[in-house]
């Protein structure tokens, strides 16, 4: 690698501390204010343009979503939901979907390839493709159904939060392109403060359940939403209400790993100790004599 980071706080499948010279770095966050989004897809286009991605032209699926799902060349996607509230008013809920950059990333926890998934000190979770082995465990680990493994090169892809731009002091491409200021980028503290002002404004306009989506189940996220119905995140095209790393993944990638190694080692050691204490079970000359005696008895009788 010609470019390297020395700012890791987490590195997949690693038992040693990764290079982490700048742990003091400010944590960043992208704030997506759903209430200001007009669904223009400028962010989607900007993402394609900056990352130079060209998805194949797909099919119309009966919705404004286009393409109809995230894939290895579509790292962010506007999701559209038509929802009628209790009074029968139609609301068009539009959410920019993509990696949430969890503080405790399930993808990274599940990944078996050393250094294929890393988290920088600024909070961004990044896939280092040259280390990816294409197993799909990140898909299993993610609580948000985000990573997509390419069937062409067997590498997993997702939003990088434009880690390349952020590392040189630029905002992510989607933030730069948004015409309404619905996507903002800055320190996580500043974004949380700004969200507070937006939420106060929404509440004053009758959205009394407005709030910030920064789910504690994954330790908070570095992509946050301002939602007008923060009591029901799943209204927004299935945004998880209380995302957390699945307990099944927790067992699989938690205590089972050391326990299994210890169990295998114990079995091998038990064999070794038995060998030393008891030794081999060998056929004795008397066994051959006995066997021969039985066989010749038979031979004599026959």
């Amino acid at each position: 690698m010609s470019l390297q980071s020395q700012d890791y706080v987490r590195r997949s499948a690693s038992t040693l501390t990764p290079p982490s010279a700048r742990r003091h770095e400010l944590e960043v966050a992208k704030l997506i204010d759903v209430s200001r989004c007009i669904g223009c897809k400028a962010c989607q286009s900007a993402c394609m343009e900056w990352n130079n991605l060209r998805d194949e032209v797909g099919h119309f699926e009966g919705s404004y979503e286009n393409p109809h799902d995230l894939d290895p060349s579509t790292w962010t996607l506007m999701r559209f939901t038509e929802w009628e509230d209790e009074k029968g008013n139609l609301e068009w809920l539009i959410r920019k979907d993509g990696c949430m950059h969890c503080e405790d990333p399930g993808c990274l926890k599940a990944c078996p390839a050393p250094g294929a998934i890393v988290q920088y000190a600024n909070g961004i979770v990044d896939f280092i493709s040259e280390n990816c082995i294409g197993c799909g465990y990140c898909v299993i680990g993610c609580p948000f159904d985000i990573p997509r493994v390419s069937p062409v090169d067997h590498k997993s892809y997702k939003c990088t939060l434009c880690s390349d731009r952020v590392s040189v002091g630029l905002e992510p491409a989607c933030v730069k392109a948004c015409p309404t200021g619905a996507i903002l980028f800055g320190s996580k503290a500043d974004m949380t403060d700004w969200a507070g002002e937006r939420i106060a404004d929404l509440k004053s306009r009758g959205f009394d359940k407005a709030g910030l989506y920064d789910p504690p189940g994954v330790g908070g996220t570095h992509v946050m939403y301002v939602l007008h119905h923060a009591d029901r995140p799943s209204l927004y095209a299935g945004l998880p209400d209380d995302p957390r790393i699945s307990p099944v993944v927790g067992v699989w990638k938690g205590f089972l790993k050391p326990l299994a190694l210890a169990g295998m080692a114990a079995a091998a050691v038990a064999g070794f100790v038995h060998w030393i204490m008891v030794g081999r079970n060998e056929v004795q000359p008397e066994d051959e004599v006995e066997a021969e005696r039985h066989l010749s008895d038979r031979g004599g009788a026959g």
Binding site: A13, V248, A260, R280, R298
Partner: protein, 208 residues
């Protein structure tokens, strides 16, 4: 078999080839599988040409092992039926482990060998089916993510159980001298049969 052939055939050519194909697949699966299970063992992926290769080869080797083990089941299930003798042998396991002469007579296979046979007969299909569910390249679109999570856990637990059974199996083969010859050359001396599988010895002796 006649008196001019002083040894007993324990495993025929088909059985031996089938066994070693299964064994080869098992060792390759163990190495590639463990490389994806614990970071401390990731270096094992290097034996396959790297992580991508280990990931790609592992499921195909698993398919071969599944077919191969089905062959083992077809060839060996008759001699692995559970009987009252097995209970007696298990009760005497302490004496067996001390290499004592005073253990109940056993037929072609003892309860330990039958345990290995049936444990694998259960674990191999469990590993095959759970493995299909996490064979991302071909099957990810047919399986929900929650199902994949459960399959991954089952696959790991079943693999751990199979590896423990395998360690016991390999150690027992080294411990009981003459077992390796039985699975390589295929034959055993009459004394070996007398000492370790006396009921089987009596059956074969009766046929001579």
């Amino acid at each position: 078999m006649n008196r001019s052939d002083p040894t007993f055939v324990r495993h025929g050519v088909t059985g031996r080839l089938n066994h070693w194909l299964t064994g080869l697949c098992f060792v390759l699966l163990l190495l590639s599988g463990l490389s994806m299970f614990h970071p401390l063992l990731h270096w094992m992926a290097g034996l396959f040409g790297g992580g991508q290769w280990a990931r790609a080869a592992h499921p195909w080797i698993g398919v071969v092992l599944t077919v191969s083990y089905l062959g083992m089941i077809v060839q060996y299930w008759r001699d692995n039926g559970w009987t009252r003798d097995d209970v007696a042998w298990l009760r005497a396991i302490g004496r067996v482990l001390r290499n004592s002469e005073d253990v109940p007579e056993v037929p072609r296979f003892n309860a330990g060998q039958k345990g290995v046979f049936w444990a694998m007969a259960l674990l191999v299909p469990a590993l095959f089916l759970s493995g299909l569910a996490i064979w991302h390249v071909y099957f990810s679109s047919y399986v929900t993510i929650e199902q994949q999570r459960i399959a991954a856990l089952i696959h790991s637990l079943a693999a751990l159980a199979a590896i423990l059974v395998w360690i016991v199996h390999v150690y027992a083969a080294l411990w009981v001298r003459g077992s390796m010859r039985a699975m390589t050359r295929g034959d055993v001396t009459p004394g070996w049969a007398w000492r370790h599988h006396r009921k089987w010895f009596r059956q074969l002796a009766a046929k001579r």
